[in-house]
Amino acid sequence: MKLFPIRGGIHPQYRKELTGDCAIEALPLPSRLYIPLQQHIGVPAEVLVREGDLVSKGQVIARRQGPVSVNQHAPTSGRVAAVTEISAPHPSGLHQPTIVIEPDGADAWGTLAEPIADPFAVDAQTIEARVAECGIVGMGGAGFPSAVKLNLGIRHRIETLLINGAECEPYLTCDDRVMREHADEVIDGARIMAHALGAPKIVVAIEENKPQALAIMTAAAQAHTNMEVVAVPTKYPMGSERHLTLAITGRETPARKLTADLGVVVHNVATARAVHHAVRHGHPLVARVVTVSGQALRTPKNVEAPIGATVSDLIAFCGGFAQRPERLVQGGPMMGALLPGTDVPVVKSTSGILALTAAEINDRPADPCVRCGSCVAICACGLVPVEIAAHIRHDDLDGAARLGLMDCVSCGSCSWVCPSHIPLVHYFNYAKGALNAQERERRKSERTKTLVEARAARVERLAAQRAANLTRKPKAAVGADEVGA
């Protein structure tokens, strides 16, 4: 298949050899599991259980609120120890409502949904409903409810389901191992999703630095004529949805639009595997593979962990720290976020836990910008980071937006390449957040204004009515006298 180049991009040190050849190991059941009500983009789920309730594995413990929301399930059987607020696995460290489960050790599945015998004979709605019921979100890190993405087949004509096996972030090997050890499940899940989307073609894109995964997936997809496994060049950010679509189809997703507008829907390999389990076995999403790596860790591994296991459980399973880590990161080093501590849980979108040393991070205090232009040369989105950052530094957020700030995918390549170590993408994340906050405040302000005007009108109306009543009363009295007389 003909591939197309993407602009810019970087080649960081991948360090995938730390876990690339480690088979997936299952984490032994920890003593507590913490399931946050929001592990996805959208509205938090609504809690259904109370402290003291007994739950079985796979039972729905929080229900989705509306379409852009996701069910949460008990990852194992046990007792609800508490429904409380704990730190979210989020750089802010803010608390969020979380269900705490104490496993009983039996790990017994409860009543599950019926396995769908022939997914290709049922209609798309059935599959979407099953995916929604099983709480599946995008497992590449974004956490977008997958059922909503599968619904895109209604409004758009989808030509291609693109399965994202690129895994372009350094260190992460969870998708690689899933493809190597569970290729058939991934392929099956992909075919089911393509059927739900009505997509005639499936392309599995895998970066060239994963030769074994390429071989195994190609063999597994042999039998299916509408599936093609493609090797894409190893470059960061090849795994970005829009850039992968460009590489495969040669078309750029228009700004502010979805890849679905080009007839392409992108899903992660782990998501495909989860769909397979949901449809074929009725299993909801209760576990995922996490790459626990970094040179500060004693034994890096790929761990299949139940949702809700804490980061400290996983680190202990990997032998603990060999040295004090400089930073603890969730996800990959490029787009991942700092963890506020180790007591936070693994959620559905946690692809990696990294304990990084100072040498690996190679950070230093920022120097003045020397306008070298490296950031411009490597920006995969065709932006000019040096200019945008200068506007943000001077609080000209609207100017930054005009230069294309909202088109930035925050891949972090510009911060990586900057010889002055200026935290460019931090400026952009700040500015995007600040612009969103300003927009929210503006909308609130407008609504307030409308309400104030409405109130003023109401008060006027009342006053006018009262004045009209006063002038009418004397007339009525005169009329009564006349009538009476």
Partner: protein, 367 residues
Amino acid sequence: MIGESATRSGPFAHTANTVQRTMFMVLLALTPATLFNLYLFGWPAILLFAVTVGACVVAEAACLVLAGKPVSATLSDGSAILTGWLLAMTLPPWAPWWIGVLGAMFAMPLAKHAFGGLGQNLFNPAMVARVALLVSFPVVMTAWVAPHPLFTTGSPTLNEAMTITFAGETPDGVTAATALGYVKTELSRGVPVSESLQVYGRSSVLTYAPDLMDLATGFKPGSLGETSAGLILLGGIFLLWRRVITWHIPVMMIGTLFVMGTLFNAFDPTRFAPGFFHILSGSAILGAFFIATDYVTSPVTHKGQLVFGFGVGLLTWVIRTFAGYPEGMAFAVLLMNSLTPIIDQYTRPRMFGRTRKGDPLPVEGQQ
């Protein structure tokens, strides 16, 4: 300490490249040519070089102290040394010490720190200094000498060099003209370019090879940066290989200079010097690889750099051919520096998913 972690966003990986490393690479690339030329011109050149670089560093330190900025952290990025080095490369090698010091005064406080320090200056500091000196002291700045290699007869000893540099007493009879200067002066006297090139190079018009060898290897009068174009070119190729600079500015500048020279020489060989002569004489190669490619004062986009390189090459040729000064590179660079912001504005890359104008791309063919 929950709130603390919010202070740092990703990414948590960085390239090994730093500003210091880049500066060091540039200095490394300049070293062979500099050492050779210091050898060529002897002790006075070495003294002047030391004075110029030293004065730049001292001037920068003084500016930092006055501005209340951290001194050692900023000095260690090597940019003051580089500016001084490049300035010294463009001065007459036997110039008196106060030329170097004054040059440093022009370069550091005026052209760099008055604008805000590293990364903020609009004009190339070394070129600002050179031009200011040239305009203020035209006689001293055009007093070129022929090479007097170290340890050969005729080369000044260290003591004699001290007199030359610090007392400003140039020995009689050592001044010589650079190739560009000679050609221009002869042209104003009515001697055709082709003839003066012959006389200067002592070879036939058609076989420029010995000429070029002289020009390329450097046994001719000029500044430290002019004389051995070959070694400077090697340094430039080193920079390209290490990805410190990209090909856009050097290729465009040399290319434009060469094309203009060749075209007009074909049109009228008596008035216009040929292409090879232009690119091998003066500080064309130094300018193309080391001066015009200065990060701070050149455009950030590749397209912009092509325009910039073209402009520098064109202006250098125009000034050399039509204007009063024999060498136009410094002026050309300064003029294009002033255009860098507007070049940047009009050569922004096309944003992903948008047209050149900035509107979202149309979605064709899909619902």
